[in-house]
Structures are given as C-alpha cells and as structure tokens.
C-alpha cells in the first residue's frame, strides 16, 4: 500500500468513528444535564413562610417525603402547574407522609409579594431573594421540582411542570425502593 492509501484509510476510520458517534447520539434536548445532586443530602432550606404559619425548615420535615418546588411569578408553565401542585398537596395532607415546600425565585420583590397575597393559606413557600437556594439546588429555569426522601436525600429532579399523576408514580417508585 502506498502512503496515500494508508492516510486515506486512517482518515476513513476516523470519519467512520465520528459518524457512528453521531448516529448513536441521542438528541441533545433529551440528554438533560443530570443534576449531580441525586442521592446527595438536600441543601438546607429555612426561613419564614410567605404563606403564613411562621418559620419553616426542610430539616424539620425529616420523616416524610418532601416535594420542593422552585417557581417564579413571571413563569408561564409555573402558573399552569400550580393547580396540580395544590391538588397533590391537598391529597397528601390528609394521608400524611408527604409535604410540599415552595421556593419563589424572587428576582423582583413586588410581584412575588402580590403573588403570595393571592395564593396565601396553603403549603409553605420560602423566598429566595439572593437566588442562593436556587443556586444550591442547581435550578436552571423554573419550574423545577425535587423529590426528597424522608431521610433528607434528593431522589429525583423534575424539570418543567409537574402533574399529580406523575408525582404519584414517582412516589410509588420511591416507596417501592424502600426509601
């Protein structure tokens, strides 16, 4: 074989490898950047609840599953998921074992306060004025929710709006696995 053929073969092999990688790569949109927080202890969340009921903290919710929901007043899908969250919370408030904790990304104080005024008297909601909680939880864009085990570990991350049925399925899987 001449030198040119060797080089051509080499180039061919590299390109075939490239094409194979392309062909097997799933679309980037489905490869959600997995959060590194899975199975790690959930970062602390504590403060006065905006919806009344005094001070809340995640640490004191140990012993039950907690759904932490990050949202923002300006986010349209958050408004869409809100009735579902409400229903999920009501459904489990009676049976117990599952709590819901909202965190509002308060990039501007006015509207968030107004929002809370309209939606007061339900599950506790914490303010996150500095974006510090969102940062600790690696929130990319609201709404993002985390399911936290009774022992305080993060079990899963849900990007985008949640539904009651989806959350119930997730809960069933978590319970089946013995968390």
């Amino acid at each position: 074989m001449t030198r040119i053929r060797w080089i051509a073969t080499g180039v061919g092999v590299v390109v075939v490898a490239l094409i194979v990688v392309f062909a097997v790569s799933p679309p980037a949109t489905t490869v959600a950047d997995r959060t590194p927080l899975i199975d790690k202890p959930a970062p602390a969340l504590a403060g006065p609840s905006l919806t009344g009921g005094g001070r809340v903290s995640l640490a004191r919710m140990r012993g039950s599953f907690v759904l932490v929901n990050f949202f923002a007043h300006w986010c349209v899908p958050c408004q869409q998921e809100e009735p579902q969250l409400e229903a999920f919370w009501r459904q489990h408030r009676r049976s117990g074992g599952v709590a819901v904790l909202g965190v509002v990304l308060e990039d501007q104080p006015g509207p968030a306060a107004k929002w809370v005024e309209e939606h007061g008297g339900r599950y506790p909601v914490l303010a996150d004025p500095e974006g510090d909680y969102a940062f600790r939880y690696g929130v990319r864009s609201p709404p993002t929710s985390f399911l936290i085990s009774p022992k305080g570990r993060i079990l899963s991350e849900i990007d985008g709006p949640v539904t009651v049925s989806g959350l119930d399925r997730l809960l069933a899987v978590a319970r089946a696995r013995g968390y």
């Binding site: 990039d107 974006g131 510090d132 690696g138």
Partner: protein, 159 residues
Amino acid sequence: MAMRSIVARWSWALLGVLLVLGLVIGSGVRLGGRPPTTAQRISQLDHLIGCPSCADLSVAESNASTAVAIRQFVAKEVRAGKSDTAIEKAVESSYGAGVILRPPATGLGFLVWVLPGALVAAAAVVLVGVFGRRRRRGRSGGPVVSDEDRELVEAVLRR
C-alpha cells in the same frame, strides 16, 4: 554593498529591541509576581462558568436570573478568600461538570487539549523531514546554487 547590509542588520536589531520593549510595556507583566486582583479573579471565573439556562454563554455575558445568582455567589466566595478551584467545585456540585465551559485537563478531557498540538507537531516534523531530505539530496546531487547566483538570475529576469 557591505555598508548596506550592515545598516540592514542594525535596523533589524533595532526593530527587535523596539518590539520587545513594546510588548514588555504593553503586556502589563506583573514584575513582582503580584496576584490578580479580586475584580480580575471574579471576571475570570464569571467567564469560565456557563450560564445554566442559556445556550453557549458564560454567566458574565448573561443577565438570566441563574447567571445573576451564580455571579453573586462567585463574588461572595472570592471576597471570602476561597480559591478558584474551590469555587469551581462548588458550582459543579450544584449544576454538574458541564457548567464549566473549559473542558477538564484530566481524564478524557485531556485529549481535547493535547490532540491539536500533537497533530500540528507531527505534521511539522513530517514537513521539516521532507525539507531536510530534499536539501541533503540537493547538496549531493545537482549543482550548488548560491544566493549570489540566484540574485543574478533574478536581476536578469527582471529586465
């Protein structure tokens, strides 16, 4: 002729000195090994960390709420005296390794840094080898052509 070549040589030497002078002044080298200022470190880190909710941009270039939060975190940690590595690690532990825009120099990431240089070096070696062989062959074989000869030929060709 000799005079001209001496002048030319000195003028090139002067050029070299001026160039070095300009670059030394302009590079702003920290002669005393002064560490970068807090503002410089914050800016460097901001350009290194990707904005998690926007494509391609660093947090320095974005005003998305996540980017703003990360910028605040970085500024806070730098002022608190944390090292760059520690801050990078902290951001990674929230958002994953993909949030750092610079691929790591360890593991597989090593390849992306080394391959281009290795390839260029290999190509350069091949080229130099080819020239070297030619020149040796040229010396042993055909007539030796000096620069003066070439000048003469070029001068004739010019007419």
